[in-house]
Amino acid sequence: MEQRLASTSRMTVNERKFVETALASDLRVDGRRPFDYRRLTIKFGRSVPVYGFTASATEDGSSEVQLGQTHVIGFVTSQLVQPYRDRPNEGTLSIFTEFSPMADPSFEAGRPGESAIELGRVVDRGLRESKAVDMESLCVVAGKSVWSIRVDLHILDNGGNLIDAANIAALAALLTFRRPECSLGGENGQDIIVHDPEVMEPLTLIIHHLPIAVTFAFFSEGNIMVIDPTHKEEVVMGGRMTATVNSNGDVCAVQKAGGEGVTPNMIMQCLRIASVKAADITSKIKNAVETYNTERTLRKVKRHSSTVTHQVSVPDVITKDKQAENIIRHQEEMIHHEPDRISNCDDEMTVDTRTCIKTEGNSRDSCTDPFVGGPSNWDPYLNKLSSNLVGKSQDLLGPLTIGKEQQEESKSNKMAVENSPEYATISSNSETLGVSGPRQQTDVAKSLKDAVKSKARKKSKASATTR
């Protein structure tokens, strides 16, 4: 009993009286005006590449929101499930809350308390009843398979007004979440193939509007009202009301669970104030999401350019170095080249890929990056290898350009014909990458076995150091 008493946070009668008397003269303890929000910070998870053959595990769909001292993070994940019987062509959305004991001494691990359940319900009602997230676009096969979106909200620090902060965290996470692209395929056209995010760009959720929760606290028998109460104000307040509105002025949900009675005029005033605040917070969320999305596209663009140059320069390296050949074979199989194509057109490839030596030199480091995933400084073998290749390619640059020009003059037509099918095969190959989803599993399996057979030590060393 004493342990429990010792660990809860306490308010003195002095503080209670002070908060109430200060509010009577429109002063709040932290210096805000009655209808001011605390400072809002929204951050997102960064992309974390996972090295090896699997795709990069992005942190799309995770957000961290700080509203003053209140700290909440939200995660969105998705899964293919069977739909509910009464809604066979709609996906599902579920909200889970986790009140960590580090947030507040009164939170206990294990079963969620009353406030935890209330928070989950308010956030859920705001999103579901207002149909903010489009459910029908989450259907894959009606009646059989739909996407189930799960939002996890973790409370890290309770500085007051958890509902608003958790709502913003859920919205920010849903706006930046991307679900994998999937298509029907297989033998009878009924199998669902989920495409790897590396192969096909994942899709965003369709969100029609943003329902923002605005919490009001009432004091002294409903005469004084403030927005965004802090932890101390929450202990002293007489009643609380949360109004979920969107920037269009639609009221999505209202929650007033117990507490002091409030006049209808007061409630209408609260709804009016809430719509003003909702517009403000919506613009903040949208700005943060836009910044995140532009950063994300910039990251994606850089990676694709390195893989394109890498594709074309692959056969060049094979003729030079036996060891490089094996590395490049792994890289080929990663991007799903057919190995036999390389051996067939070796002669032509040596000629027309000389043009790519320049780009090869620059992108050597970035080419090896998708393979080993990071600066190659730690692996002395790779360092030596890359400098080897760069040296050789630079040696060949001189005489070979002359040779290329001569050959071009003599058989320009033949080269043009030869070039175009090579480039055509390369470009068509990259297009078919998307459709090669079903074969992805078998290709990966083949390449793993090859890796073990040919250069087992190198593979295991690379994977050991990256883990």
């Binding site: 004493e2 010792a6 003195t12 002095n14 503080e15 209670r16 002070f18």
Partner: protein, 239 residues
């Protein structure tokens, strides 16, 4: 017109130092005596120390009584450090380690601010930001008898003194000083309380008056009580 701020804590702190000067032989329960010699220790005083450092070598010092405060302990012939912080010496012979935390470790003769949590027949349970609740006997008030037990409701803020502090027992408090006088201890009325780290509260109590308090005093007349457990109470000046 300039009002001097009334600072209960500085009065008590000064009285503490005086009591040490007057009664060097008095041993308090949490402090230990050691046989020492005349030479003072090396200049680890006012320097940062970490757990495991040896502060004093007692073989070099004999026939001297030294008092150990928070963060120090005696290991046979040496005094070693238990808590990281700055080693301090107060003349003639008291040593302790000062560090700043958000939680408070009770130490005897500290003046702290406590919040009443529960009332029992024999004592009040008071929260002083320590690992356990502290007991304040109902008779530990000036002129306290069974007939005039004060009635404190839950949430009352008190300015108290730590009398006993072992790490195996609940600390014990008192609203009297050693001589039995009230000396500004007791309930604090009105005002506002906020929490800080123990380091900041020590700085507010430091001996040439803290500049913040002086600057505030030039503009307003106020009353302040600083607890060594990281709680500070401010109010307007009750004349």
């Amino acid at each position: 017109k300039r009002h001097r701020p009334l600072r209960r804590s500085s009065i008590c702190f000064a009285s503490l130092l005086c009591s040490y000067a007057i009664n060097p032989q008095e041993t308090l329960t949490s402090e230990m005596n050691a046989e020492t010699s005349d030479a003072p220790p090396t200049s680890l005083v006012d320097r940062t120390v970490v757990p495991g450092d040896t502060v004093l070598d007692l073989t070099a010092m004999a026939n001297q009584t030294i008092k150990l405060g928070a963060g120090l302990r005696q290991d046979c012939d040496t005094i070693s450090v238990m808590k990281a912080g700055k080693l301090r010496l107060s003349k003639p012979n008291k040593y302790w380690v000062e560090s700043s935390h958000k939680r408070y470790v009770p130490c005897v003769e500290d003046t702290v601010l406590g919040i009443v949590v529960d009332c029992k027949p024999d004592n009040f349970l008071v929260d002083i930001k320590a690992p356990t609740l502290a007991f304040l006997p109902v008779l530990a008030f000036e002129g306290g008898t069974r007939r005039n037990i004060p009635k404190f409701e839950i949430g009352t803020l008190l300015y108290v003194r730590v009398v006993k502090a072992n790490n195996s027992m609940n600390p014990e408090l008192s609203c009297m000083d050693e001589t039995g006088k009230a000396a500004e201890f007791g309930q604090l009325k009105d005002g506002y309380m906020f929490e800080t780290s123990t380091g900041l509260s020590r700085m507010l109590l430091s001996s040439p008056t803290c500049p913040v308090l002086e600057a505030l005093g030039k503009k307003l007349s106020y009353e302040i009580a600083v607890g060594l457990n990281g709680r500070v109470w401010v109010s307007y000046y009750h004349s």
